[in-house]
Amino acid sequence: MAIAKVCGIETEYGIQVVNGDPNPIAASSVLINAYARDVARQQTGWDFEDEAPGNDARGEVKEGAMPPLVETHLVNTVLTNGARYYVDHAHPEFSSPECRDALEAVRYDRAGEAIVVRSMEAADASLHDGSHLVVYKNNSDGKGNSYGCHENYLMDRETPFSRIVAGISPHFVTRQLYCGAGKVGSETAFHEGGSVDFQLSQRAEFFEEQVGLETTLKRPIVNTRDEPHADPHRYRRLHVIVGDANLAEVATFLKLGTTSLVLAMIEDDVSPSRSLALADPVRAIHAVAVDRTFSQPLQMADGSTATALGIQWELYSVARKYADDRGLDCLGEAEIGDAILDRWEQVLNGLETDPSTLSRQVDWVAKLHLLEAYRGRHGCGWDDPRMAAVDLQYHDLRPSRSLFARLDTEKLVTEASVASAVVDPPRTTRAWFRGQCLKRWPASVATANWDSLVFDLGSDPLRRVPMMDPLKGTAEHVEALLDSCSSPAELVDRLSS
């Protein structure tokens, strides 16, 4: 049986300084420090003890592979909602807490946006030189520089990695049909010679390999980073780097939901009757991004052809049957699995009949609708800078400037539930224990990371509490225990007895 698909989203935001020092590392630090100091009023740092991003799921390290550097000197905080908020390279990054299902992941993704908005306000209030910070939730600067929005999924260690690669690649190549955030033009050599007015995906053209360890150079469609942040004998964390950052809630829900579902089928070794292996997944992901008919034939490994939409219909129909046969408990409560399947079917139908009907659900459709309307009014061509400006400003997170916020897109979570996710952890994963300890005893939590908390109880030595199972430490498991402890020392004593 497939295991619970605990998931989360890490978003690297674009950051721009207006009228000030353009150094993005300094700007990201100002942004996050302002939030930690003035809004959250909390400074618990990150514990780097278990960071090993160079471990390769294939069990070997390819020659010339460059594992990412772990930058321990930059701002790095843990929030009471269980998230990590920090400076990653030259970007502010929000890593959501572990979520039990795709809808919860949407809620915490939105909480991340709300935290960034508050951070901008706090940072601007602290800057007295006339400068201010602007943060964008997108994935490229339009000049060939890309930054990521990564997803993580809990997987059973027993599932062979080669089966994951084979099973998930067709989905990663084609899910951009409804997960793409849209982009004006192109910025890599892949589309040189052909003129590209608009692409479905921000990220697709930056992918150069099918499988690999890197995340910044020669980006692979399937990333092999093997850093489970959990018991490595039982679990794997599939680190997904191929996606776009979404603003439309339905797109985020489908991105996490359909991927969780396909991964569950891979764990249970359920696959389509016809092989969906592409002859050249890298070429295919580029081609799908620029094909607004979704019907361009893609070469399959077995010599046949398939369309991107055909591959999605195939995956959907296997998933529907899988759900009927085995149920979707691994995706959370029953209504979550049902909603994933129903919405998946709806977007595929919409793409097939009239994609413009999806402008409230799918980012690239919403953005394209906006661009076409703008073009209609001003008579400008696709290469007019105003088109790129509309594209960029779609992703501006300032409520006063965001173009996305002006669209009537469909909401899946209430503003009240987002506001609570800004400060409260999810109740159904170990993030609850992390967040609650930080809430209750901020002065006693010295550092935290995904799989442990380190308490400073005022007496040597520091006490580390491991959390090697993402499904333990939930409110159901430990709320009564925490409520009955009058001090962190009592909690640590009772946990270790």
């Binding site: 970007h91 964008y136 960029l392």
Partner: protein, 64 residues
Amino acid sequence: MAERELKKKQATERTDEEVDEVPASSAAGEKLKAELDDLLDEIDEVLEDNAEEFVRNYVQKGGE
């Protein structure tokens, strides 16, 4: 597969019906157009003044 075809077909019919309704009512069409005009007015208002400079100045370092 047959079941999938059926579902697709039903959903397609549903969508077609919805699309048919829009031109049937010119009032609804007018409303959509007015909403789009309002949206475009708002975009003209908030879009950065110098689009060329705004886009040129947005330079990021690669991340991840």
